[in-house]
């Protein structure tokens, strides 16, 4: 029986009959479905500023959320006390959403097939603290050594280890151990008494600490942040108006996250409030665009063995050659829309109701040579890195803010540009994609996505892409 391997079940002495009793209580007033979500979260962070390790925090939080679904209605309650009395009380509160004769949960919980996308033997959170403090010091040294014009460096190291246990009234049981870590660097550069500029970089994933020795070092992120800050000292104001935009590989994948990802989350579509509602089968992007949301990529920040409803994650095709194929489903929407689950039900913590969310969202590689894409543009803007984005899913309007971009002049990179926001409309913007590179990259692993007040870690990716028409909001 899988429960014996659950960290949470072992730590709090939870047996299968306990889970069944809680689920029975949750369905005591009727209700079509109930689930229990146990979470134990341990976190560590170190922050460095002015070459001093100024902050260090560790913490532990735990709790259980009980959900009851009755038709389209959801009742939810949670407790940070895992005693049977408190869990039963939460189950009774959640049960108030339904009104009818009690239902019987399926007994004999069965565990979903196991896989491990992040087989990290020792999670960073479980390692000696001293080794992790060194990471922020190494980054500081490298950023300052990069260029004498760097005068401020801030580094944050953060990790967490999240254990989950999900039991459902339809008889499934799943548990997961989710390590997550990152290093983020921010550097300020200044020339003489001139105005400063900021650069930033960072990365990580569901990896062990060896990632920072073997894959991407703190020194790498530090040099990237420093390079960007120094580069921006030469930056000129960005142009304004519609123009050709070339997105570089990696971070600019935030475009697909904002332009189509959110609009394809099933809750918005079930309610008919998304610009993509009812448009499955329609051409919503150029034929070169195939966009997927993939929660199964090993060690990625947005990946999960199972989502926060216990459903295994998948590689979901959202847009295939420009045609809208599917939505991202959680259990509620999947049931109401009679559509298969996609493993997209996520929540920030046991205190939150699960909703459809992205995992790692990217545009698949095409055939063009990235150099050739750049050469094809006489005048336009090349974006290498972005700070963040936002979308209004109803109108479809989205924005994303370029933190490193360049003017393109005669097929070559011109001067770097100061910060500029790019805007577009979801179902329209990707119709203007005319070239897709063969150089797909995912971001380095620091992405956070917010929706309805809940933040979850995500990834994005894109190859070099040419968009023939997009509004750039510079001040020039």
């Amino acid at each position: 029986m899988g429960l014996s391997q659950s960290y949470i079940a072992a730590k709090f002495g939870i047996a299968e009959r306990d889970l069944e009793r809680y689920l029975a209580e949750a369905l005591a007033s009727g209700g079509d479905y109930a689930d229990l979500f146990f979470e134990h979260l341990a976190t560590t962070s170190f922050s460095l500023d002015e070459s001093i390790v100024k902050g260090a925090t560790q913490g532990v939080s735990m709790g259980v959320g009980v959900r009851v679904i009755s038709g389209e209605r959801t009742g939810y309650a949670y407790s940070d006390d895992l005693s049977p009395e408190r869990i039963l009380r939460a189950a009774r509160v959640a049960a108030c959403i339904a009104s009818g004769p009690s239902k019987v949960a399926k007994t004999g919980l069965e565990e979903a097939a196991k896989r491990n996308l992040y087989p990290v033997v020792v999670a960073p959170t479980e390692t000696e603290l001293g080794g992790r403090v060194e990471l922020v010091k190494r980054a500081d040294g490298a950023a300052r050594a990069y260029d004498a014009r760097i005068f401020q460096v801030q580094v944050v190291y953060a990790d967490n280890l999240r254990h989950t246990l999900v039991a459902t009234s339809d008889g499934t049981l799943s548990h997961d151990r989710q390590p997550l870590t990152r290093v983020s660097v921010s550097a300020l550069a200044r020339e003489g008494d001139g105005p400063p500029q900021r650069g930033s970089s960072g990365g990580g994933g569901r990896v062990g600490l060896e990632f920072f020795d073997n894959d991407r070092t703190p020194e790498y992120f530090a040099r990237e942040a420093a390079r960007q800050a120094v580069l921006l000292l030469e930056a000129v104001p960005a142009p304004a108006g519609e123009m050709i935009v070339v997105l570089g590989p990696g971070w600019p994948g935030i475009l697909v996250h904002e332009a189509v990802g959110h609009g394809l989350e099933a809750d918005f579509n079930r309610k008919g409030v998304s610009a993509f509602s009812g448009r499955i089968g329609e051409q919503v992007a150029g034929p070169l665009c195939t966009i997927v949301d993939d929660g199964t990529i090993p060690h990625r920040r947005g990946s999960l063995n199972v989502d926060d409803e216990g459903t295994p994650t998948e590689k979901n095709v959202l847009i295939e050659k420009g045609v809208l194929r599917g939505y991202l489903q959680d259990k509620l929407s999947s049931r109401l829309m009679r559509s298969p689950a996609t493993g997209s039900g996520r929540r920030e913590s046991y205190q939150s109701i699960p909703i459809p969310r992205m995992t790692n969202t990217y545009l698949m590689a095409g055939e063009s040579d990235p150099e050739e894409i750049l050469r094809s543009v006489a005048k336009g803007v090349y974006c290498k890195s972005f700070g963040g984005g936002q979308v209004d899913i109803t109108s479809g309007n989205f924005v994303f803010s370029a933190s490193e971009s360049y003017l393109i002049e005669g097929g070559r990179l011109g001067p770097p540009l100061r910060d500029a926001t790019l805007v577009g409309n979801g179902p329209e913007a990707l119709k203007w994609v005319s070239m897709v590179g063969n150089d797909l990259q995912l971001d380095l692993g620091v992405g956070i996505c917010g929706k309805e007040g809940q933040s979850v870690p995500v990834g994005v990716g894109i190859p070099t892409v040419r968009i023939d028409r997009m509004t750039v909001g510079g001040a020039a």
Partner: protein, 450 residues
């Protein structure tokens, strides 16, 4: 547990930390209960009710800080938390500026700040559900083009925060809050737009009527229908109170001590200088009774106060906690903010732009050609340089009147120039949240469209 129990517990944690070798210690304990109901298309969609507690401790070994938190308030859980913070403090670096406020600086605002009202917890569930229903219904009833809704929510919470430190401070306060909001969706042909409106207060009696909230939300969604994308041009820009508040939020980031001591703000070194038009006065006041940004003391135990940040265009004070004040050779302005633990950051109380003389109608009437911004999107504000470029939607103004909706554009400029270019401040200041501003007119910005 009562307020006194939590205060005792916080003091016990401080004592425990001292006993285990910490030179200084501070402990926060918080408890909260939340309720929310969402009604969508006249049916209950979600109902949530629960509570949680947590404790945090920060210790100093010499001048090395370490922090920890837990949701386990048993004696064992709290002891593990203290040990964990001390373990971390052995790994941080001595920082000559780290420390607690001086004893003489500690204290609490006397008198009732109206932070807690019994009527929030006492409100019956069916009344809360009815308010959400009435709010959404009012929005749906405004116009046949309001065809859909993302629902209406009523939410409430009651919280308790206790804080004690090793310099003898111990204080606790309860707060209550409740709010109602709705997000109607308007449709006209292929054009679909949503907007929202809300009311929030510390007492249920102070909420605006559900019908009023619903009607405004619907009117806002309707006026966004059939937007056009305009040509790129330099034009005057009017910020209505909601978007002006967002602009004030960016100014807050730029006057916060954290950004100033790192020289990471375009306002670094500008204290005493004119940084904005003479019509601009920005005040932070955490002592205004009943408002959502009020509190008796900040998160380091320094009594709340009123600070004039910009006085008729002149930068008169940064917003500081103890650490950033020491870094700058200044005194704390009682703006320490943090969750349960960690080094304090900088927060604000009720941060507001003092109102001017002209009504919003008069301000709009003065614009021959320009943009009224009703929505801002994205994170395109660089506090280091002041560069400002954000997605915007709103109404195009010609000869003082709105002529059509605009979306898919950006507005850009530089915060320094924008502050200098504020030509009018409206007379329509309302305290709807912890950041408040009246209507603003900025002489000229780049509006980027086609």
């Amino acid at each position: 547990m009562s307020e006194t129990d939590y205060l005792q517990l916080a003091a016990d944690v401080v004592k425990l930390a001292r006993g285990r070798g910490a030179g200084e210690a501070e402990c926060t304990i918080a408890e909260g209960d939340e309720f929310s109901v969402t009604v969508r298309m006249r049916e209950i969609e979600t109902l949530k009710e629960a509570g949680a507690r947590g404790a945090g401790v920060r210790v100093l070994l010499g001048q090395r800080p370490g922090s920890s938190y837990t949701s386990d308030l048993t004696p064992d859980g709290l002891a593990r938390m203290v040990d964990s913070a001390i373990e971390l403090a052995r790994l941080t670096t001595d920082d000559p500026f780290a420390g607690l406020p001086e004893e003489a600086e500690l204290g609490s605002v006397a008198g009732d700040l109206g932070l807690y009202s019994d009527d929030v917890a006492a409100l019956a569930s069916d009344v809360r559900i009815r308010m959400a229903r009435e709010c959404e219904e009012a929005a749906l009833a405004v116009d046949a083009r309001i065809v859909n809704s993302e629902g209406a929510s009523f939410s409430s919470s009651v919280n308790l925060r206790a804080f004690a430190n090793s310099r003898g401070f111990a204080g606790a306060y309860r707060t209550s809050s409740c709010g109602l909001n709705t997000v109607p969706v308007a449709r006209d042909g292929d054009s679909m737009e949503r907007d929202y409106w809300y009311t929030a207060a510390r007492s249920a009696a102070l909420l605006e009527a559900p019908e009023h909230v619903g009607r405004i939300a619907a009117e806002r969604a309707l006026r966004r229908l059939n937007p056009r994308k305009i040509a790129t041009e330099r034009a005057p820009v009017v910020f209505e109170p909601r978007t002006a508040g967002s602009l004030i939020g960016s100014i807050f980031d730029a006057v916060s001590g954290d950004a100033i001591y790192r020289k990471a703000s375009f306002l670094t070194g500008k204290l005493g200088q004119r940084i904005a038009a003479a019509c601009v006065t920005l005040i932070d006041d955490a002592t205004m009774p009943g408002l959502l940004g009020a509190s008796p003391f900040d998160d380091e135990g320094v009594p709340s106060r009123r600070t004039v940040v910009i006085d008729r265009g002149v930068l008169s004070s940064y917003l500081l906690n103890t650490y950033t004040a020491r870094k700058l050779g200044l005194k704390t302005t009682s703006n320490a903010a943090r969750g349960l633990t960690g080094n304090p950051g900088v927060g604000h109380g009720n941060l507001y732009l003092g109102q001017g003389e002209r009504s919003p109608g008069e301000i709009l009437g003065s614009v021959r050609r320009g943009l009224l911004v009703t929505e801002l999107m994205g994170s395109g504000v660089n506090i280091v340089t002041g560069d400002y470029s954000r997605g915007a939607a709103g109404l195009w103004i010609e000869d003082g009147r709105p002529v059509f909706a605009v979306s898919g554009v950006t507005i850009s400029g530089n915060l320094g120039e924008m502050l200098d270019g504020i030509e009018s401040v409206g007379s329509d200041l309302e305290f709807r949240g912890s950041i408040s501003a009246p209507t603003l007119l900025i002489r000229e910005m780049t509006v980027s469209g086609r």
